[in-house]
Amino acid sequence: MGSEKQTDPCFAITTDGLRKTYSRPFGRRKVTALDGLSIQIQKGEIYGLLGPNGAGKTTLLKLLLGIVSPTAGSAELFGKSVKLASSRLRVGFLPEDHRFPPFLTAMQTLIVYGRLATVDKKTIQEKAPKLLEQVGLNQWSDARLKEFSKGMMQRLGIAQALMNDPSLLFLDEPTDGVDPIGRRQIRDLLVSLKGTGMTIFLNSHLLSEVEHVCTRVGILHRGKLVRTGSVEDLTRVSGKYEIQIADDQKPLVTESFPDMQFSDRLDEAWVRLEAADATELNQQIDRLRNSGVQILSIVPQVRSLEASFMEIIGDIDGDEGGIPRFDKQAEVGESTDTESGS
């Protein structure tokens, strides 16, 4: 099953021209879920993968975990082909919509999945109670899973994913169906893992979650990686700045610079500026100061990740109010032969 060739273990995840086409019986059109995707994720990164439904996020995750096989291309975890079971030795995974056997207790679940992850008995006995405590389920260790809420199941799912002390953690919609408190707990847990050097690959619809946790973000759309970068890169609006002035100077600015616009912020007065470069920015600041305006702070204008995401997807799909189109283009069949993922 695959070669033992080890390439670059500096990267936790490497894919090269990864492509997955689902064939359908009776000659119906094929569905291309991933189209020549090439990514590299360094060790210790918290990588968030965004994309509308059907973009291929879960397929990518399944390909990386050997749950589905690629139609073309290759993928490696820590330099080992994903075709090898041993590539998953240091990997934890929380699938979307996972179904743990309901007849197991929380503790039994950790024992069974820990043993599947080659963790020895002694370590399981030591680690399982700690993990249950970490995810807030220590009171429920002997309760059957059929009594668990969705949020508890998610937290247990994270605990089982951490049983083998993974160096790489895959989370597919970890806060899906979880109430705000549970979501916050999961987010705090991820933030605490951030400092451990663990690489985390996060698939999520919840952009605020990704924004808070991830160091780098990729946007997948129709099987292609359409944008990647840090959260700051994606949310920065180039050439736009906001300048905070004293609240009582608003009339002065309005009078002296009728074209200037204010940002909508409560209790604070922020003026928006557009400048092609630093020289132009300084000139505008000078004009304000010469008019007697007191400047309190200057920041580059940013928007939410959600706004950036909608714009990027909207740009690709054509301007339809920023709402991604869920058309039939995913069902491209033989027409998607280009391998231009990244």
Binding site: L65, I67, A85, V91, L116, A117
Partner: protein, 297 residues
């Protein structure tokens, strides 16, 4: 081994949780308890003087035959067939044939019924992908599952057959250990039928289709068992198809005769039904593994 052990454990727990193991255990216990309390024999000089079942007494007899010609012996005056007390050996062989034939059907069909939902649970979305994400090969995962199912069925069948064998042996004072071979045959034939359930379950993820196919094969093996009577009635072409199917498909019903022959301490006429069934099972397991190793979940 750790990983195979984990899938084995999971399979055990699932059957335990479904209360099927306990159900089969209770039914089996009731069966041998009834047999041990209800059946009483009076043996005099190697023949059964009286047989009591639930307090109802009878004296089992058998017809007498000429030792040389084998013809029935008759009373010279009345012309009635002469009868004598049934020998203990014959009684035990008869009862064993019945009990172990029934155990074969009971063991395999109940085992099949008990384990049927396991495959759909095993390949359920959200569960299989989590197992496949672990550092364990697909071959090991499936082997662990099959080993778990076989082990449970083997335990239940062993309990059933050994308990009944002990009861009958204690009652009759006749110890025939070769009956215990039927344990292996029952487990093997369960395994053959389970290969169908497993492969269909993995391929189509449908318990219904797997059930219909497995029981269809069992039903069809009953027709195939009548080969000697049916084939002469067919045209050459249909006869060739019938004979082909006889050799390809499992000969589930015909294997009963092997169990019965073992039970009656006779030498087995032909092991072919068992051998061809095992080959069929091996082939179907092979197909199941082939599909499982390549399937996207």
């Amino acid at each position: 081994m750790k990983q195979i052990g984990a899938t084995l454990l999971l399979t055990f727990r699932e059957l335990w949780a479904m209360k099927i193991t306990q159900g089969v255990f209770v039914v089996t216990t009731v069966a041998w308890l009834l047999l041990s309390f209800a059946l009483n024999l009076d043996v005099i000089e190697g023949s059964i003087a009286a047989l009591r079942i639930f307090g109802f007494e009878s004296v089992p007899t058998e017809v007498m035959r000429d030792a040389v010609t084998g013809e029935l012996l008759r009373d010279a005056e009345t012309g009635n067939v002469l009868r004598e007390a049934l020998s203990l050996d014959k009684f035990v062989l008869g009862i064993n044939q019945f009990v172990f034939g029934a155990s074969y059907l009971f063991g395999t069909l109940l085992g099949l019924f008990a384990t049927m939902p396991l495959v759909s649970g095993f390949v359920e979305q959200g569960r299989i992908d989590l197992m496949l994400s672990k550092p364990v090969s697909r071959a090991k995962l499936l082997t662990g599952h099959i080993a778990g199912v076989w082990a449970i069925v083997a335990m239940l069948v062993t309990y059933l057959v050994v308990a009944i064998w002990l009861v009958i042996s204690f009652k009759t004072r006749l110890w025939l250990p070769h009956y215990l071979l039927s344990i292996a045959i029952i487990v093997i034939m369960f395994g053959v039928v389970y290969s169908i359930v497993l492969t269909i379950g993995i391929w189509m993820r449908s318990t219904g289709v797997a059930l219909v196919t497995a029981y269809g094969c069992i039903f069809f093996s009953g027709i195939l068992a009548g080969k000697d009577q049916i084939v002469p009635q067919l045209t050459d072409f249909t006869a060739a198809i019938f004979i082909g199917l006889y050799h390809i498909l499992p000969n589930y019903i015909e294997v009963i005769s092997i169990v019965a022959q073992l039970g009656s301490n006779e030498s087995v006429n032909s092991w072919y039904p068992l051998v061809s069934s095992v080959l069929f099972g091996a082939l179907v397991y092979g197909i199941g593994f082939f599909i499982f190793l390549r399937k996207d979940y």
